[in-house]
């Protein structure tokens, strides 16, 4: 059974069609990197998976369960929103701009959602949070406010925050794009560690080197469609499609 599945997904913002029929399945334990130029629909596709954007046409499945089915923006299924919310919470998300909660300390950022959404016991979740902070190497920052951390540190807290909800999949939306170059490495190292632990990951990224190293599958998107996909060797080293070659030539 696939962890997430998109069937013929289309998404328009007004007259602008951003996704033009996407079919995608992600298996358990897979690390998938999505590359492509800005405006190719990479981020939108990710955001459609956890309903930050609602699709216009097509079907979305999470762990085999239908979470959205639409035709011409008409909701065909009217699925119980509580159930959808619970399924979407299985997808942890890390944003380009971190989006930490500035009024909460590092540890509160990590514990707030498990406490109010899953009603996890306070002592239990604090222990989990400390373990996660240790994993991302920020144990000493637990009582700081996010504004006092560097970008790289903030992003590592954001990763810990998403992991605290024990998601089935971690999605990363250009996690290093807003970082100063010298801070990119520490975030990638954390992500690499997650991949080695067998976490299912979908990563939208411009870090081609990183994709080549950790990805099981690389997807190249262009103008709202999946143009080419395969192993990193196939897509990054021996691309078949002309558009993939042009893109890779531009950024390498």
């Amino acid at each position: 059974m696939s962890m997430v599945k998109l069937v013929d997904v289309r998404k328009s913002f007004g007259d602008n069609e951003v996704l033009k029929g996407i079919n995608l399945e992600i298996e358990s334990g897979e690390v998938v990197c999505i590359i492509g130029a800005s405006g190719s629909g990479k981020s939108t596709m990710l955001r459609c998976l956890n309903h930050l954007e609602r699709i216009t046409d097509g079907e979305v499945y999470i762990q085999g369960e239908l979470t959205d089915k639409r035709e011409k923006n008409k909701d065909l299924m009217k699925i119980d929103p509580v159930k959808v919310q619970a399924l979407c919470a299985e997808l942890g998300m890390v944003f380009q701009n971190f989006n930490l909660f500035p009024h909460l300390t590092v540890i509160q950022n990590i514990t707030v959602a498990p406490t109010i959404v899953k009603k996890v016991d306070k002592a239990v979740i604090e222990k989990t949070a400390l373990d996660l902070l240790e994993m991302v190497g920020l144990s000493d920052k637990k009582d700081e406010y996010p504004s006092r951390l560097s970008g790289g540190q903030q992003q590592r807290v954001a990763i810990a925050r998403a992991l605290a909800m024990e998601p089935m999949i971690m999605m990363f939306d250009e996690p290093t794009s807003a970082l100063d170059p010298e801070l990119v490495g520490e975030v990638l190292a954390t992500m690499r560690k997650l991949a080695e632990e067998g976490m299912t990951m979908i990563i939208v990224t411009h870090e081609i080197g990183f994709a080549r190293e950790v990805a099981d599958r690389v997807i190249f998107m262009d103008e709202g469609v999946i143009c080419e996909q395969g192993t990193p060797e196939e897509v990054l080293l021996n691309p078949k499609e002309e558009r993939t070659k042009i893109f890779l030539n531009k950024i390498l």
């Binding site: 309903h51 979407c88 919470a89 944003f95 989006n99 109010i116 959404v117």
Partner: protein, 220 residues
């Protein structure tokens, strides 16, 4: 100088003034949050009701609203039921000032909520929070610091606007000293009133400044 009776009258007037302003800011803030949530809601009914509320209470003079509640409601009641009832002027003042403050505070609160970066709501949703959870735990707490300064503004305005209640048989601070001034022919009572208004607004200003700093600890 003031004699004992005058002193007590001025104190009583000050208390009336303070009571109305404080009740209005508290209830105004509570209604204001509800109306602000209506304004940003996608629900058409909630949205237009709150739009209409703000339109009416900001668009008509507070004095008129006070008159409607104090004079018009008993007459309407008399015409429709044939019974008379006396209405407590203090209660009228509480209601009119709270309803009016709510309209202004609703717009302040709405703007504060909308000024919070959209990424905050997205992050909360991605973590599985419902709209209500995200609002109460993530978005609204972040507006507190931004609300302190305009709330202090509103409280100071309310404190001075309470002088309108002299028109519905209440003795607030200003009316009390005005009566003394006309009875004695001495203008010095106005100086006392000015000093008390300034004393009260100074306290508000200092307390709100401190609160704003305290709530901003998480900012760089």
């Amino acid at each position: 100088m003031l004699n004992e009776i005058q002193l007590q009258a001025i104190l009583a007037g000050t208390i009336v003034t303070l009571q109305i302003a404080i009740v209005a800011i508290i209830f105004g803030a509570i209604f204001g949050v509800i109306i602000a949530l209506g304004r940003i809601s996608k629900n058409k009914v909630a949205n237009s009701l709150s739009w209409f509320y703000i339109w009416f209470f900001r668009g008509t003079p507070l004095l008129l609203q006070l008159f409607i509640i104090y004079y018009a409601i008993p007459i309407i009641y008399l015409d429709s039921t044939g019974m008379t009832f006396t209405i407590d002027p203090m209660l009228c003042a509480y209601v009119a000032f709270s309803l009016n403050a709510a309209a202004y505070l609703a717009e302040i609160i709405r703007a504060a909520i909308e000024s919070i970066d959209g990424g905050q709501m997205e992050a909360a949703k991605a973590l599985g929070m419902s709209y209500r959870q995200a609002m109460t735990k993530i978005i609204i707490p972040q507006t507190f610091k931004r609300l302190v300064a305009p709330m202090g503004n509103e409280l100071i305005l309310l404190l001075k606007d309470t002088s309108l209640v002299s028109t519905i048989a209440l003795f607030d601070l200003l009316r009390t000293v005005k009566t003394m001034a006309s009875a004695t022919g001495s203008w010095v009572y106005y100086i006392y009133a000015a000093a008390i208004y300034l004393f009260l607004t100074t306290i508000i200003q200092v307390v709100f400044d401190k609160t704003e700093k305290k709530l901003g600890v998480y900012e760089r």
